[in-house]
């Protein structure tokens, strides 16, 4: 019972946080949109004045023109939501966002104006790039980390630690720029831009995508796996010193079985949490890295939206990121509680 109650509490909690964050985001973005909407309205009003307004002025006189202009302005203000108070706008925007109704963009991106559709195009691309890379990182990181923990203090362990410390301080996008210089410019092994060729279909398209993915994936793996291996190593070293490992060793359980059967299972909760967050994080893409590689995923989309002042798209994307993060928190809590009985006890004791 304790587990379910705990879970329900966590979910309600996450929804509450989502609600508040949505309001904060709406408040921020509505403020931004207000100015651009006002200028858009005046632009449209000017255009009307020069075309229809001029006609009315000629045929019906100045007074009729003034009246028509006021009416036009009022209708435009309504169209751009300039006639309602700020907080009401925020409220409307937040409610619409919560209903997943993000609206449209002013300029078409990926051939559509609908924000949801745009995000649906970009998400799979980011998944393709970052999830692939994250999976490679997880496998490589855990494998190397376990190896380093088994031979703690060896040359391999020291080398791995130094490598992890070095890559921890590297910005991924800079590493991307360097790899572009070395592997794309100097050696010419990879393309300089990872933008897909829209003309290709079928097998040629798959080959094109794979070729363009290679360098970004390699960069991601290179920067991130050291940290993973190091963290896994530290967790494993801690676990390997625990009593039950000693007992298993004393019983004569084969080392391979101790490492992968006993120790890794005991060390699983924090590692699983890391995996969940890494995988969920990978859906969001990395803004700057995608910019450097000119890769058409979520991150670059975010940047484009910012540059073109597409508020609706920005809200949609931010909402998407937030939902992902909160889903990750709940999922991590769920799995954590499942794997580690102590959490359940602690949580239900607190209830």
């Amino acid at each position: 019972m304790g587990y379910l109650k705990y879970l329900a509490f966590r979910i309600v909690n996450a929804l509450l946080v989502l609600l508040i964050v949505t309001f904060i985001i709406s408040a921020l973005f509505v403020r931004v949109a207000e100015e651009s909407n006002r200028s858009k309205m005046y632009e449209e009003l000017m255009l009307w004045e020069r075309t229809e307004g001029a006609k009315i002025k000629q045929s019906q006189g100045l007074e009729a023109f003034e009246q028509a202009k006021a009416a036009k302005q009022a209708s435009l203000e309504e169209k751009y939501e300039l006639n309602i108070p700020y907080w009401q706008k925020v409220y409307r925007k937040a409610v619409r966002t919560l209903k997943l109704d993000f609206g449209t963009t002013s300029m078409p991106i990926f051939g559509t104006n609908n924000v949801s559709d745009i995000i649906k195009v970009a998400v799979p691309r980011s998944i393709l790039l970052f999830t692939t890379a994250t999976i490679i990182v997880i496998i490589l990181g855990i494998f190397l980390g376990v190896r380093a923990a088994r031979h703690a203090g060896s040359v391999f362990d020291r080398g791995l630690s130094i490598f992890a410390l070095l890559t921890y301080s590297l910005p991924m996008w800079w590493t991307g720029m360097m790899f572009l210089l070395i592997f794309a410019f100097k050696l010419g092994w990879f393309p300089l831009s990872s933008m897909f060729d829209p003309q290709l279909t079928g097998w040629a398209h798959v080959k094109d995508v794979l070729w363009k993915l290679a360098l970004p994936v390699f960069t991601y793996v290179f920067v991130v796996f050291g940290g993973w291996a190091w963290t896994t190593r530290n967790i494993m070293i801690g676990t390997l010193q625990e009593d039950f490992i000693m007992a298993a060793k004393a019983k004569g359980v084969p080392e391979h079985k101790i490492i992968y059967g006993h120790a890794l299972r005991a060390a699983a909760p924090p590692i699983v949490t890391m995996i969940i967050f890494a995988l969920l994080g990978s859906l969001g893409g990395a803004i700057i890295s995608e910019l450097v590689f000119n890769y058409p995923g979520m991150g670059r989309l975010y940047w484009v939206a910012l540059q073109q002042n597409e508020t609706n798209l920005l809200i949609g994307l931010t909402y998407f990121f937030t939902v992902l993060y909160l889903a990750g928190v709940v999922l991590a809590d769920m799995i954590y509680g499942f794997l580690d009985p102590r959490v359940k006890v602690g949580a239900s004791a607190r209830m």
Binding site: V17, S169, L170, M177, G238, I288
Partner: protein
């Protein structure tokens, strides 16, 4: 705690720290970094941030060239920058009305191209008799005896003469090329504009040009002609009494194909100076952000744990809200809407979005400490909440705090660089992120300008590494039990 204890504890800590090789390496790196940052105005150019954005200041530098030391690693050697002041020039007066200024330039063997351009500036002219204004000829004498007329009978004014950036001079070079190779005289109008505006018209001046050769071939693939060149500025001043020509400030620059310690960027800015100055911002922001966010996170987490109950729940919800707002996009958004951003504002933003993790960890630690008996004792004696938090719980977390501060510097440095890289930064400062931003905007990676991309990132990495080394060493010594795994 008595002062003696503090002293003893500190001594013990130092003893232990000395045994951590990585920590010592980190401290040495830190000392070097701080020295570099502090001495930047003396080792490079003073007031660099003010000059950085003015393209006029960097006009006498070649654009987009690699560092001079690169020549050691490549067979295709690139000439360095050479500057002549009045004492390095040969100035003669063949007659009352003429002044001849000569600059001897040696194009050394095994270098692949001549200079990127030649700039003459600092001629001070005051014309008193406009009818008889001074005029000048500019030509280059080559080791093969040929003479390239660059400018002829041009009125002398106080401006800059710029070989390589002046289209008239480029056209004259083209005319000369045709004249030597094909033997015919062409006029200004027959010069293909496309060619002289896009191609490098300085390299052919320092290349082999013989009758029968193809002009396009020479321009596209100039074969170096090594030896001694002489740039001659022949000034004719018909009225020496009324028109005064002052040569005291004259400066003739043969722009290099390589420059300084770190090369130059698209405006000719000295990247070495920029990188040295960038360390100041990086260190300041990194340390400031990590100290502030650690302190805020600690106090927040401990307070939350100590108060417990509803207050704790409420404070943790606020923490979660901050943690679940995607920070980089919001930072970009705020930056983009604020327009001008100061460094202090960036610090503030990074702190606002950076204290949550520390708050969580310190809360969980404080929850353990809170249950200890001496806290209860203090409470029974009537100590207030503030006193217990600041006097009894926080000091216990201090060692942990030091390690966290050191370990969170790299992410703060990267965060600042990322913002600057996206073009959201303090425009009055010179930062590594901004240098990389310019590199990205000018497509430096796709053009192979490694000297522009490599050093700023290495700088970020070195600052990061310094603090990671110190942080892990501190972590090992100060928190043997509370090891962050």
């Amino acid at each position: 705690m008595r002062w003696v204890d503090v002293k003893e504890g500190f001594k013990e800590f130092l003893e232990e720290f000395k045994r951590e090789k990585t920590g010592i390496a980190g401290v040495i790196l830190l000392v070097i970094l701080v020295l570099v940052a502090l001495t930047a105005p003396y080792t490079t150019i003073p007031d660099l941030p003010e000059k950085w954005r003015s393209s006029a200041y960097w006009e006498d530098n070649p654009k987009n060239v690699p560092p001079t030391w690169y020549n050691m690693f490549t067979s295709q050697k690139l000439v360095p920058q050479e500057v002549y002041y009045i004492n390095d020039l040969k100035i003669t007066h063949p007659s009352d009305t003429r002044t001849v200024i000569e600059a001897d330039y040696n194009f050394p063997n095994r270098y692949i191209l001549g200079p990127q351009g030649i700039i003459i500036r600092g001629l001070n002219v005051s014309v008193g008799d406009p009818m008889n204004a001074p005029v000048f000829d500019l030509y280059l004498l080559r080791p093969d005896g040929k003479k390239i007329p660059l400018l002829k009978n041009k009125p002398l004014s106080a401006g800059t003469i710029s070989v390589g950036r002046d289209s008239t001079i480029s056209a004259n070079v083209y005319i000369w090329l045709v004249n030597v190779t094909e033997g015919r005289e062409i006029t200004m109008f027959e010069v293909p504009l496309q060619t002289i505006l896009i191609s490098d018209m300085v390299a052919p001046m320092f290349a082999k040009v013989e009758p029968g050769m193809n002009v396009t071939q020479i321009i596209e693939n100039p074969e170096p002609l090594w030896g001694n060149y002489k740039l001659v500025l022949d000034i004719n001043n018909p009225a020496p009494d009324k028109n005064k020509i002052m040569l005291d400030n004259i400066k003739v620059t043969f722009l290099g194909r390589s420059y300084g310690t770190m090369g130059t960027d698209y405006l000719g800015r000295d990247l070495w100076a920029g990188i040295i100055w960038g360390s100041r911002v990086s260190l300041t922001i990194g340390v400031l952000v990590s100290v502030l966010s650690t302190v805020i996170g600690l106090v927040y987490g401990v307070t939350s744990a100590y108060l417990g109950g509803n207050a704790d729940e409420f404070m943790m919800r606020i923490n979660e809200i901050f943690a679940s707002i995607p920070s980089l996009p919001i930072l970009i958004l705020i930056g983009a809407t604020m327009g001008h951003i100061t460094l202090m504002f960036i610090v503030l933003l990074l702190v606002i979005f950076g204290w949550m993790g520390i708050a969580r960890i310190s809360r969980s630690m404080a929850l353990q400490i809170k249950e200890q008996t001496y806290i209860e004792a203090a409470r029974a004696l009537g100590a207030g909440n503030g006193r217990i938090i600041f006097k009894h719980i926080l000091p216990q977390l201090l060692p942990y705090a030091f390690a966290v501060i050191a370990l969170s510097v790299p992410s703060a440095v990267i965060a600042e660089a990322s913002l600057s890289f996206l073009g959201i930064g303090d425009p009055t400062a010179v930062t590594w992120g901004q240098i990389l931003n310019a590199a990205q905007n000018q497509a430096a990676t796709t053009k192979g300008y490694w000297w522009w991309v490599l050093p700023p990132g290495l700088g970020i990495a070195v600052v990061g590494l310094t603090f990671v080394l110190i942080g892990t060493a501190l972590d090992k010594i100060l928190n043997p039990r509370l090891r962050r795994l």
